[in-house]
């Protein structure tokens, strides 16, 4: 109580200068001015977040001479798709196809295998399940750099180098720890009585998993799938390590090498390539932003 009584007088004078503006509309003016710094700050913040992306989309329609001769805020003189055409002419379509070929099969396997493992580790009762869960957890912390060299050797010796397999296999393995851990957490929130009841009704545990467990965590699987999709789609390290030819490049590796091909930077095509790369994630985020936010933050608190 003593601390509070001493602080009250200290706080009030600090508020006085603000209310010392016009007396008549005291409340509204005060409200307006006390809100003003926050509003200005927010406006600046939103401009900082949005403007770079807007600038990029506008830039993807500009010609090289517009970039060199006009100020950066100039709008494109025409909405021609020439830059996009030249992006796809330089092989970007192949990169997108490659990304789809490696990401979606990996994603499917991660989800199927990971959900089953999460169920076995959380719902079923057996000795050593805590240790196995910890083993999966360790995989979240160990940097990928620890595994790429031996994997390179393995893929080289088994003749997988030069195909999509090295990327797919590595994606599955690196995606599993977080998936298993998140699924175990989701299964934990399902009341155990549900599984006990289905067992009492005579269902085998595999049947309980399929008919009771899976439908209950359907939304969670979708959320985890979204999170893993972004990790795999945006990955650079694994894709860079296991793509040894232009024909295998994923969209990220392709974009990284995009500017390098020319002596001078071709601004328009570069911006169009960035735009193409960003468009996929932008669309997903446009429609599923709440699930994406939920999934990504859930993945980190537990991870």
């Amino acid at each position: 109580m003593t601390t509070q009584t001493t602080t009250i007088p200290r706080v009030t004078p600090r508020q006085n200068p603000r209310s010392a503006v016009p007396r008549k509309r005291k409340v509204t003016a005060r409200q307006f001015f006390s809100r003003l710094p926050i509003r200005v700050f927010l406006a600046v913040l939103l401009v900082i977040v949005i403007y770079p992306m807007l600038w990029m989309f506008l830039g993807s329609f500009k010609t090289q001479s517009e970039f060199l001769n006009e100020p950066f805020w100039a709008l494109p003189q025409s909405w021609s798709l020439d830059n996009y055409v030249s992006v796809f002419d330089s092989g970007f379509g192949t990169y997108i196809v490659n990304s789809i070929i490696v990401v979606f099969p990996s994603l499917a396997v991660i989800l199927i295998v990971g959900v089953a493992a999460g169920f076995a580790l959380e719902v079923m009762v057996w000795k050593g399940r805590g240790t196995v869960l910890l083993l999966f957890l360790a995989g979240i912390m160990v940097p990928t750099q620890m595994i790429i060299l031996p994997l390179f050797t393995i893929y080289f010796r088994t003749g997988l180098t030069g195909s999509y397999w090295p990327m797919i296999l590595t994606y599955i393995a690196t995606g599993l720890p977080l998936t298993v851990f998140m699924m175990a957490t989701f299964f934990r929130s399902v009341p155990r009585e549900i599984f006990e009841a289905s067992t009492l009704d005579g269902a085998s545990i595999l049947r309980s998993f399929w008919a009771v467990g899976l439908p209950l965590v359907k939304n969670a699987i979708f959320t985890v799938g979204l999170v893993q999709f972004f990790f795999l789609w945006n990955d650079l390290l694994i894709a860079l390590t296991f793509t040894n030819s232009d024909a295998l490049r994923t969209i990220q590796v392709g974009l990284l090498n995009f500017t390098g091909q020319y002596g001078a930077v071709q601004y328009g095509p570069t911006f169009a390539a960035i735009a193409v790369n960003v468009l996929g994630t932008l669309f997903i985020y446009l429609f599923l932003n709440q699930q994406v936010m939920k999934g990504l933050t859930a993945g980190s608190v537990k991870g």
Partner: protein, 294 residues
Amino acid sequence: MERVLGDKRAILILLGPALLVYSLIMLVPIIWSLGYTVLDGNPIVGFTFNGFDNFIKFFQDPAAWSAIWFTVRFAVVMTVLQVGAGFGLSLLYVFWLKRSSSAIRTIIFFPIVLPTVAVALLFQRLFEAAPTTGPVNSFLNLLGIDSVDWFGTPAASFWILLLMGLWQSMGFYGVLLYAGLLDIPEEMLESARLDGAGGWKLIRTIVLPLSLPVLLSSLIFSINGTLKVFDSVVALTNGGPGNATTPLTVYMFQTSFTYGQYGYGSTIALMLTILCLIFTIFIFRSTRRDVTKS
């Protein structure tokens, strides 16, 4: 019941595939990589045993020390900025914007899902000095300041990496910490307000201590991510100028794949892993102590 929930065959069917893939492609390579640290060479020319030479080399290698120094400096400053900005945003969401914050939260969160390579190429253009003047330098010129060659000096490159990281991640940490702040009971804040605690005092005495657990996990998550920074460096500065912005991850990659030294590359990777462990334990223990004190 016990028999059904502990059905060995079912456990094998459900857990087997995941454990098999995980063991073969994560656990075995981790052990294998430890074995590489006492070897020299690569799979194409073959390996020779060289004892602890890789470790001796690592501690005498100026490039390795410069990489450690950059990694630590970047991770610490980035973590402080990310989590700090995120906490600021979360306070803004909870105490000033209240219910109207949803749209703003969603917009500021967005950059985290963008591919880092795309963001890095965009930032190269934003901060460009020549041949065209990018928006940032144009803005500086407007204020009467000369264009800065952002990618030409180590200090400026370092700050651009930080700025880009912050631009991408502040919204993410904002939402992460916002979720933590929502867990603080409204009655608790209300009674503190009635007792005369407002503004900073409320934040310092009520909000901060109560959001400590979620702050702690954010710090650990952030430091683990930033110690492993790779994409943004490769795409934005490629480690330059010189090797001024080369973290351990990039140095390991260059050593292994540009120079074909798998043994030394594995040693660097192991050092990075140890660094992650040390930082995680350090943050965990230091915050634990604070909790018991207060």
